[in-house]
């Protein structure tokens, strides 16, 4: 049997290793979400997301110490596409909820828009952050920290056209 040239063999293995996908430490998401997506690990968007979830958040954190990276993409909720909110708020229809998890974060750039409640809600979270996110045309607040949350950093975000006259909500 003809033996393999050790240099060619070594080069082939190296090529295979480099061609193989890198170890994926994060989940990649995009497309349409029809029921609440619960995050259990670091997650990033790899495309825009359209969300048709009602009665709960579109995306909810399900573990502590993880990050959602918007990666320049947009998460769009089911509120009126022409007018943004353009109607009454529905308190359960949140874009992203931290869902009581500790030390979780959301990093932009990226857009969270057209949710009938808050775009981003820190719900009973201790230590968390949202950075570089644009929240627009959500029916309640663009970014809200609920009273049970503490040590949250809201930094370098843009909040435009959120809330309705009926709700004393606002950009942040």
């Amino acid at each position: 049997m003809k033996s393999l040239n050790p240099w060619i063999f070594a080069a082939s293995v190296a090529a295979l290793v480099s061609a193989a996908p890198a170890t994926v430490a994060a989940e990649d998401i995009s497309g349409t979400i029809v029921r609440t997506l619960v995050l259990s690990e670091n997650t990033r968007l790899v495309g825009n997301i359209t969300c048709t979830v009602t009665g709960g958040p579109c995306i909810a954190f399900g573990a502590p110490d993880i990050t959602l990276l918007l990666n320049g993409f947009t998460i769009t909720g089911p509120a009126d596409p022409a007018t943004g909110c353009g109607g009454t708020n529905v308190g359960t229809d949140i874009g992203i909820s931290t869902n009581g998890q500790t030390n979780v974060g959301i990093r932009g750039p990226g857009v969270v828009q057209r949710f009938r409640a808050d775009g981003v809600l820190f719900m009973a979270t201790v230590r968390g952050w949202v950075q570089g996110v644009t929240a627009t045309t959500n029916c309640m607040s663009g970014i809200r920290i609920n009273p049970a949350s503490s040590q949250i950093s809201v930094e370098s975000n843009v909040s435009v056209r959120n809330g309705t006259a009926a709700a004393a909500c606002g950009g942040i």
Partner: protein, 94 residues
């Protein structure tokens, strides 16, 4: 807003309210934000009783929420800086 949070370097424009600190909140820092045009003109004229301001501190003064270096034009219980017009170019003779 809950307790001991930091709201820094954000822009809040054209919302029902810009930045709101709720009554039970304490120990929060709101600084270096730009909050203008809240509520948007369209909402103000069509729903005049809706209210809304750029920064609204609904908490008691004893709660220790602080506001520093924010740019706003309307506020309740929070400071908006008095902008100087001295640097605005003026037509000669006016």
């Amino acid at each position: 807003m809950g307790n001991n949070n930091l709201v820094e370097a954000n822009s809040a424009i054209g919302n029902a309210n810009g930045i709101v600190v709720f009554p039970a909140a304490n120990g929060n820092q709101v600084r270096q934000n730009i909050a203008v045009g809240n509520p948007p003109i369209q909402q103000s004229t069509s729903v005049p009783t809706g209210g809304g301001v750029d920064i609204w501190d609904q908490s008691a003064a004893a709660n220790g929420n602080t506001f520093a270096g924010n740019m706003c034009l309307s506020a309740i219980n929070a400071p908006c800086p008095a902008f100087s017009t001295a640097a605005i170019p003026r037509k000669p003779g006016s």
